[in-house]
Amino acid sequence: MNTNDKKAFQIIGHIVMIILTLLAMLPLILILMASLTDDTALIQDGYRFVPRVFSTAAYEYIFSSSDTVLRAYGISIVLTICGTMISVVITTMLAYALAKKNLPGKGLLNFLVFFTMLFNGGLVPTYMNYTNVFGLKNTFWALMIPNLLMNAFNVMMVKSYFASSVPDEIVEAAFIDGATEFQTFYRICLPLAKPIIATIALFVGIAYWNDWNNGYIYLTKRTDLFSIQNLLNRMIKNIQALQQNANVVNTDSAIASMPAVSIRMAIAVVGILPVIIIYPFIQKNFVKGITLGGVKG
């Protein structure tokens, strides 16, 4: 018996994990602390874990003086909710069709979905398509539609869930009772597939919340449609952007009182906040989803 050896492993294991946990957490704490530091102190001392002069001016500014930040926040919220809902609807419906036994043309449909996982045209052709053919540039749809609305990988995950976890007998019984195809899907298959739907909704929702790419490429003029990520992206390059876009009532005094350095960090904190708040609730589903998709991801 090696009880000593086991004890040593437990102790070393905990030490290693505590270090890694700190490494994961401390950078987030640093920006939180910076956002709570007085601007002049921040310029003098730089970013520190313990603020020398504590101040909530950055947050006050965000929530009172500037509607730029609040609007971007609102756009991120609307985008995430609408995008996720549409995505879940079209993904599950397509997956339901592909999971159907004896559907004529199923092989072809499967291939068409699957091929998109192997090959794509890349940025330039996609950009040309959305700009020249669909005129998506500088519209809200540019945030929602390109690349994020549905992906073949999620379709495949839901499809295999339908195929393995929804028993044929139940579906047939529903038909015998006179249910239509859509009723069967909506009343019977969807409720049974709740776990996988929660998982893909989570993945899609986080992808929407975190996306900065679409806005960066397609919103060249309509900066009023910027999501919170786009705003942050623009702000790290110049703090002026906030001043230019700010539709503040009393422009001059608002800019003069703007805590320029800490405000960036405050917006970053506000940008992570929703994720951190829902994280404890979604964490289990998220882990399950990674495990499910992991081997093929």
Binding site: N2, P27, G46, F49, M93, W212, I236, V261
Partner: protein, 307 residues
């Protein structure tokens, strides 16, 4: 004739199903299939006024031009070498963390796991803010701390390319290890405990158990995930390479990858033909690598292959 009729009847009966599939299929058509003809841009001299089809043909000149510069070499090298470094380092760390988490007895391990997964949920833009808070020349945490403790000269992190390979590898690990270890952990927890009980009775140390039981059992998963990653070696984590170095020109030799090159060509330099050529190169080579990796995975374990 009879069979054909039967198929037709089945199709008619399944019309509601086709209707349900339609929105998703239309989206894939728009998002994934309609851009494909645009790949010909790589062989054209793009002129915005004339459009894709009206622009004059350029033959292979976009490619000869691309490969005549050192750009093609640099972006290919960076993409592949960084991906290799990420694959090796993140895999080793993920396995180590997964093994530790699987052996720890205390319930607090769930907390550890949750926290180290968190960085994976943070957007590339915000990660670039975090990195900036550490590396900013005037006010960054690192420069300030070094100055206070050792009176050290500040380092211009965003202008010195020698540090960036390490910074990028570190950030990648920070972001991905918590995520990747979940897959290994799920595999580990599925192992038959009786091997370990028997090893315990024989007096094997923990290290011996890891080396002689855990790692061999984990081998198929490691090989498979690695092969999958190798199949994607021509695609880089765009947010990491574009956002984290903050588009600093001095760093391009060590931060420019195929994805960032295509992006800059399209959006900043306005060199669309060159960008299209590099994108075409990535699509084709990437496709071949994905196919190749899948054939290998298929040989190795049919159920785990994509097709």
């Amino acid at each position: 004739m009879k069979k054909k009729n039967k198929t037709l009847r089945m199709m008619i009966r399944n019309i509601p199903i086709y209707v349900m599939a339609l929105p998703g299929l239309i989206y894939l058509f728009i998002n994934n299939y309609m851009p494909l003809p645009g790949l010909v841009l790589a062989f054209k001299n793009y002129n915005a006024r004339k459009g894709i089809w009206g622009s004059p043909w350029a033959g292979l000149s976009n490619f000869t031009y691309l490969f005549a510069t050192s750009d093609a070499y640099v972006i290919t090298r960076n993409t592949i070498l960084y991906n290799l470094a990420f694959i090796v380092i993140n895999t080793v760390l993920s396995i180590a963390v997964a093994i530790i988490l699987s052996e720890l007895k205390n319930k607090i391990k769930n907390f550890y796991q949750s926290v180290i997964l968190l960085p994976h949920l943070i957007s590339a833009v915000i990660i670039s803010y975090i990195v900036f808070a550490f590396l900013s020349t005037e006010s960054g945490f690192i420069n300030n701390t070094m100055r206070r403790l050792f009176n050290a000269e500040p380092i211009a992190w965003y202008a010195e390319k020698k540090y960036w390979p390490f910074i990028l590898v570190f950030v990648s690990a920070w972001k991905s290890v918590g995520y990747q270890c979940i897959i290994y952990l799920a595999t580990l927890l599925g192992f038959d405990r009786s091997y370990y009980e028997a090893a315990d009775l024989d007096g094997a140390t923990v290290w011996q158990q890891i080396r002689l039981i855990t790692l061999p059992l984990l081998r198929p998963t490691i090989i498979m995930l690695t092969m999958m990653a190798v199949g994607r070696i021509f695609y880089s984590d765009f947010g990491l390479f574009y956002q984290v170095p903050q588009n600093s020109g001095a760093l391009f030799p060590v931060t420019n990858t195929i994805d960032t090159y295509v992006y800059r060509g399209l959006l900043e330099a306005g060199n669309i033909s060159m960008s299209a050529a590099a994108g075409f190169y990535q699509s084709i080579v990437g496709f071949i690598l994905v196919l190749g990796a899948n054939l290998l995975v298929r040989k190795f374990d049919r159920d785990s292959a994509l097709f």
